[in-house]
C-alpha cells in the first residue's frame, strides 16, 4: 500500500495500460458474478451482460435490465465494478442498453436445470406459450409448469407476479409446496 502510494503518476498510467486483461478473461470474471436474487445463476448466464469491449484504457460493459423496474439492477452494477476491480480494471463504463429488450430465452440452457434444483421452475421458450381455451380466448388456458420439487404437472397459478418482477407464483397440488416460476418474457 505505502509502496503503491509513493509511486508517481507515470508508473500508474503504465500499469493501467499493462493491465488490460483479454476479453475472455473479463467474460470469465463476469461469469462468477451471481444474480443477487437468484444466486445459482450468473449474470452472464442470465443474459444481461450484452457485450464487453476495450475503448482505449476504458472497459465498456453493456448491460440490459431484465425488467425496467428491477431493483437488483444497481446491485448488479456494483457487483460488476467490484469484480472487475479485482482484475485490476477500475476504469469501467457501464452502459444501460435497452435494445433489443431482454428475453428469458437468453438464459443459458445449463442454467435452467440449476434454477430447477434451486426450487424455481425455469421459463418456457416464449414462442411456446399456450393460449387456447375451450371456454373463451379471454379465459386463458395456463401453460403446464412442472413442480421443481416433485416434477408433478398438477400445478396451479396463484399469481402472475411473484417474489420478484420476473417470477410468477405457483403451487403444486401433489406435494403441496408453493414455488416460483420464472416467467417467459
Amino acid at each position: 500500500m505505502t509502496v503503491a502510494d509513493s509511486c508517481g503518476d507515470t508508473i500508474a498510467v503504465a500499469a493501467s495500460l499493462r493491465s488490460r486483461p483479454a476479453l475472455d478473461v473479463v467474460w470469465a470474471a463476469l461469469a462468477t458474478v451471481p444474480d443477487p436474487e437468484i444466486p445459482v445463476i450468473s449474470i452472464v448466464e442470465l443474459g444481461i451482460v450484452r457485450s464487453v469491449s476495450w475503448e482505449g484504457p476504458q472497459l465498456v460493459v453493456k448491460v440490459t435490465p431484465t425488467y425496467s423496474g428491477c431493483p437488483a439492477t444497481e446491485m448488479i452494477n456494483t457487483l460488476i465494478r467490484e469484480t472487475l476491480s479485482v482484475l485490476g480494471v477500475t476504469d469501467v463504463v457501464l452502459v444501460n442498453q435497452l435494445s433489443p429488450a431482454w428475453s428469458s430465452d437468453w438464459i443459458a440452457p445449463e442454467a435452467k436445470s440449476r434454477l430447477r434444483a434451486f426450487g424455481i421452475a425455469p421459463p418456457h421458450v416464449t414462442g411456446g406459450r399456450v393460449d387456447v381455451s375451450g371456454i373463451s380466448p379471454l379465459r386463458r388456458a395456463s401453460v403446464v409448469v412442472p413442480c421443481p420439487r416433485c416434477a408433478s404437472e398438477n400445478t396451479q397459478l396463484l399469481s402472475q407476479f411473484g417474489s420478484t418482477a420476473c417470477k410468477a407464483q405457483y403451487r403444486c397440488l401433489d406435494c403441496r409446496e408453493p414455488f416460483d416460476y420464472f416467467k417467459p418474457h
Binding site: 423496474g69 435494445s99 379465459r139 396463484l158 416467467k183
Partner: protein, 292 residues
C-alpha cells in the same frame, strides 16, 4: 402550441423557450426549440402517467386483500415506475438539448408541483376498493399496450426502444387486469355490483386517453408520437369484449373529463393529484437532495 412548462423546481431551467414559431432570422431555431419542447412535454405525459399510477399501486402495499395480490399490485407498480424512470430520464436529456441544462429523473419526479405534471387524470384516481383499482388498471392497460406497440415504430429510436421494453412488461398487466375484471364481474352478486360501479365511476376519465392536442398531432405527423384518437375504436372493441365475457355492461356516458385540451396532459388535474404528490414528494421536499 404547447403549454408552458410551469416548473416550480429550484433546479428547473428557464421556461418560455417553447413558444410558437414566429418569423424573423431566428425562425429556424425557434422552430427546432418548439419541436424539442413538444417532445419534452410528450415524454412527461408518458412518464408522469406511469409514475403517478405506480405511486397509487404502491399505496396498496401492506393492504392487499391477500398476500399474492399485495405482491402483484406492487410488481405492476414497480414495472410502471421503471418505465416512468426511462421516460423521465429521456425527458431530462431532451431538456438539456433545449435549455443546455436539464433535470434528472428524480428532480422531475420529486420537485415539480401538480400543475407541472402531465399525467392522465385516470392515473391519479384514488384506489377505492379492489374493484376500483382493477377497473382503473383495466381501462389503462387496454390503452397502454396498443400505445406502446405503436410507439415501437417511432422515428425517435430512444422512444422506440423504451416502448419495446415496456410493452413486454405491460403484456402481463393486460392479462392480469382482464382476469380480474372477468372474475369479479362474473363472480358473486357483490363483486359484480362493485365491478360495475367502479367501471361506471371511472368511465368519464377514459376519454382523455384518446385526445390529441396540437402538440401530439405535430409529433404524430413527424412519426415520433402516436395520434391517440386512432386507438379509441380498437379500445372500445377490446374493452367491450372483456365486459361481455364478464357479464358487465359497457358504460355509455358521452361526457368526458379533460376534453378541449384541458386535461391532465395539459396540467389540469383533479383534487386528488396534490394529495398524492404530498406523500410521494415529502422526503425530497423536506430534506432536499437526500440520498438513499
Amino acid at each position: 402550441m404547447t403549454t408552458p412548462n410551469a416548473s416550480m423546481s429550484a433546479a428547473g431551467p428557464p421556461q418560455g423557450a417553447n413558444s410558437s414559431p414566429s418569423g424573423g432570422s431566428a425562425a429556424a431555431f425557434v422552430s427546432l426549440a418548439a419541436s424539442v419542447g413538444v417532445l419534452f412535454d410528450y415524454l412527461l405525459r408518458l412518464g408522469d402517467t406511469d409514475v403517478v399510477l405506480a405511486q397509487r399501486l404502491g399505496e396498496w402495499v401492506g393492504h392487499g386483500p391477500v398476500l399474492e395480490e399485495d405482491i402483484a399490485l406492487a410488481n405492476v407498480g414497480l414495472d410502471l415506475l421503471g418505465q416512468g424512470r426511462m421516460w423521465l430520464s429521456y425527458a431530462g436529456e431532451v431538456e438539456t438539448r433545449l435549455h443546455g441544462k436539464g433535470r434528472t429523473e428524480d428532480q422531475l419526479a420529486f420537485l415539480r408541483d401538480g400543475g407541472a405534471f402531465r399525467n392522465l387524470q385516470l392515473a391519479e384516481m384514488p384506489n377505492g376498493d379492489f374493484a376500483a383499482t382493477m377497473a382503473r388498471q383495466f381501462y389503462f392497460d387496454q390503452f397502454h399496450l396498443p400505445l406502446l406497440r405503436a410507439l415501437t415504430q417511432s422515428t425517435d429510436p430512444r422512444v422506440a426502444e423504451i416502448a419495446a421494453k415496456s410493452a413486454k412488461e405491460v403484456t402481463y398487466h393486460v392479462e392480469r387486469s382482464v382476469d380480474w375484471v372477468i372474475r369479479l364481474g362474473d363472480g358473486t352478486d357483490e363483486s359484480h355490483a362493485r365491478m360495475q360501479r367502479a367501471l361506471d365511476d371511472l368511465w368519464m376519465y377514459t376519454g382523455e386517453m384518446f385526445t390529441a392536442d396540437a402538440a401530439e398531432l405535430a409529433l404524430a405527423a413527424a412519426g415520433v408520437g402516436v395520434d391517440a384518437r386512432a386507438l379509441r375504436e380498437p379500445w372500445l372493441a377490446s374493452v367491450g369484449a372483456v365486459l361481455d365475457e364478464a357479464t358487465l355492461t359497457l358504460p355509455n356516458g358521452e361526457w368526458m373529463q379533460g376534453g378541449n385540451a384541458r386535461g391532465g396532459k395539459q396540467g389540469v388535474h383533479t383534487e386528488h393529484l396534490g394529495h398524492l404528490l404530498t406523500e410521494m414528494q415529502f422526503l425530497q421536499r423536506a430534506y432536499p437532495g437526500a440520498q438513499w
